[in-house]
């Protein structure tokens, strides 16, 4: 499994430079590793310039509400090897701020605008980061946060047309599959 070994070698090489977490291998060509927030930009630059991971595939966030943390995922790709490595960055949920990467990849500015709007994560210095990107005149908390209830918001703000019935799928299919009421 050559790609896997190169991925492990890459991990070991990086560990000498940055305090990385364990390498979690999802696929032979895809692995994720956790990076401390302050070491993100150096490791991104190192991966881009020294290791040839020149393509920022995506930058997104996951809201771990229970742990009170945001997970930022920077997915980098190296086309010649067909390998992807994802850098996880855990940042505190309240007052979330992250160093901007728009000078490393110009496209990162777009992702950061979306994260700023949808998760409320601030990226100081990123161009046009505070402008409206997708939403317009949004008044509630950022919608992609886990504690934002879209159904409640929709029912409060938009007038519904009467006559629409919505069932909880689990109970509905329970009745459909097991009409005698036993637990399936």
């Amino acid at each position: 499994m050559t790609t896997m070994t190169t991925m492990r070698e890459l991990h070991t090489r990086l560990k000498h430079l940055f305090p990385l977490g364990e390498l979690s291998e999802q696929r032979p060509d895809l692995a994720f590793v956790t990076v401390p927030a302050e070491f993100l930009r150096p490791s991104l630059l190192h991966l881009r310039d020294r290791e040839g991971y020149t393509h920022l595939v995506l930058l997104t966030a996951v809201d771990w509400l229970e742990e009170g943390r945001f997970q930022l995922t920077y997915l980098l790709s190296k086309r010649t090897l067909g390998q992807d490595i994802g850098l996880r960055v855990m940042i505190p949920r309240d007052g979330a701020t992250m160093a901007s990467a728009h000078d490393i990849w110009p496209t990162a500015a777009t992702y950061q605008r979306e994260l700023r709007e949808m998760f409320g994560i601030d990226f100081p210095g990123s161009p046009r980061v505070d402008e409206d990107f997708i939403l317009e005149g949004w008044i509630d908390i950022p919608p992609y946060r886990r504690d934002f209830d879209t159904l409640k918001y929709a029912q409060e703000n938009y007038s519904q047309r009467p006559g629409r019935e919505t069932r909880d799928p689990a109970t509905h299919m329970q009745q459909q599959l097991y009409p005698d009421g036993r637990q399936g």
């Binding site: 999802q26 895809l30 920022l56 992807d84 110009p106 496209t107 500015a109 777009t110 879209t150």
Partner: protein, 392 residues
């Protein structure tokens, strides 16, 4: 010699801090909104142009007109409930959403989709690619005022939609590739009817080539316009035909083969000049390659066998904590799904990464400067952007 198009590379002037030196109150500049209500726009988006005379000095892309919050809606739907809504994300080529979502769920749930299902998936994806390319060709010619091409390509696209209809039962939203496999096998006599359709498409493409690509005016308008520097491909995240037209063989079907693509023989279509004409030509040849791929798939695919793997009961389907990223080569570039699960019956986070996300925002805003107003529509169409991928 070039009296009509002098070199404006140093225009507009930039201030010391790098921002453009544009004073809207000087009366020299005019703000134009191209879109959302504009025939020359691709889908429902808009570009805010600042023009000086006949030339664009600044362009800002505005999206969000089609935002439905899919990624939020999927967080409150079970894994099987997500399946019918993912295809709504991207209209011209919905199947890639179904495939990427299904593959991501299968990988995290440890399900292996059957061999025959993979062949049918590849078939559907290539059919969708043909649809998308046909629509693009019509749009590219229409943006330059050549409406007849759109008539012809939409006509054959309807024929391909008929094949979709008899295979999946729907014209646009097929909802055919679900986690675990596909819904059904091929109907009786599908191969022959598909062969007829493919011949019709090839004949139409011959006419399109004669009328569109050999047209002096079309060349005059498109050759040398909208150049993308190959050095910028990675920093701007350019993928798909836009990158292949710049001479870089970026094709996920070759770089990270998925489904049955390792068994098929094809080579990525490459162009060199990286202008609008080359991008259109690359897409035309790529379309012909998809026609050939469909013939290969239909010839080699297993005739019988299961099309659906064993999946847990949808009532109690829970997937352990994990995260993965699945990508595929759609007609506009690399299409990817980033799925995170937390052990519950609902996805923790789904992120759709469409190719237009980078093409229409950072890349377009860079390319649109110093372009004549007349060429804005053609430039935008030539990037083959589609807004719902940007905002979901």
């Amino acid at each position: 010699m070039n009296f009509f198009a002098p070199d404006r590379s140093q225009y507009p002037a930039t201030k010391t801090d790098g921002t453009l030196d544009i004073d809207l109150n000087s009366g020299k500049y005019l703000k134009l909104w191209q879109g959302p209500n504009h025939p020359g726009i691709t889908g429902n988006m808009s570009v805010e142009l600042t023009v000086c005379g006949d030339e664009v000095v600044e362009g800002r892309t505005h999206v969000g007109y089609l935002h439905r919050g899919f990624e939020k809606l999927m967080e409150r739907r079970t894994f099987i409930q997500c399946f019918p809504i993912v295809c709504r994300i991207c209209v011209p080529e919905p199947d890639f959403n179904e495939y990427c979502y299904a593959a991501a769920v299968e990988e995290l749930a440890g399900i292996q989709s059957p061999e025959r299902a993979n062949w049918i998936r590849a078939l559907i994806l290539e059919m969708g690619r043909i649809n998308s390319y046909l629509m693009y060709l019509g749009g590219q010619a229409g943006a330059l005022g050549q409406g007849v091409i759109g008539q012809w390509t939409t006509y054959v696209r309807d024929l391909m939609l008929d094949r979709f209809e008899e295979l999946t039962g729907a014209r646009i939203y097929h909802m055919f590739i679900l986690p675990g496999g596909v819904r059904d096998g091929l109907p009786e006599g599908f191969e022959q009817r598909m062969e007829v359709t493919l011949r019709e498409i090839e004949n139409t493409l011959k006419d399109v080539y004669d009328v569109m690509f050999c047209n002096a005016v079309f060349k005059k308008r498109t050759v040398g316009l909208g150049y993308i520097d190959p050095a910028l491909l990675d920093s701007y995240g350019v993928t798909g035909p836009n990158a292949r037209a710049a001479g870089v063989a970026k094709d996920v079907r070759r770089d990270q083969p998925y489904l049955v693509y390792p068994d098929l023989d094809f080579a990525p279509v490459i162009g060199q000049d990286s202008d609008i004409y080359t991008r259109a030509d690359v897409r035309r040849r790529d379309l012909l390659m998809s026609v050939d791929l469909i013939r290969q798939i239909l010839a080699r695919m297993p005739r019988n066998g299961p099309v659906m793997a064993e999946t847990p009961s949808v009532l109690h389907w829970q997937i352990p904590r994990g995260e993965t990223y699945i990508r595929g080569e759609c007609s506009r570039g690399e299409y990817g799904y980033y799925l995170v699960t937390d052990g519950s019956g609902y996805p923790r986070r789904v992120n759709v990464r469409g190719p237009s996300y980078t093409h229409a925002m950072a890349l377009l805003e860079r390319m649109i400067v110093n372009v004549n107003i007349s060429d804005v529509a053609a430039l935008m169409v030539s990037l083959h952007t589609y807004p719902p991928e940007i905002e979901r």
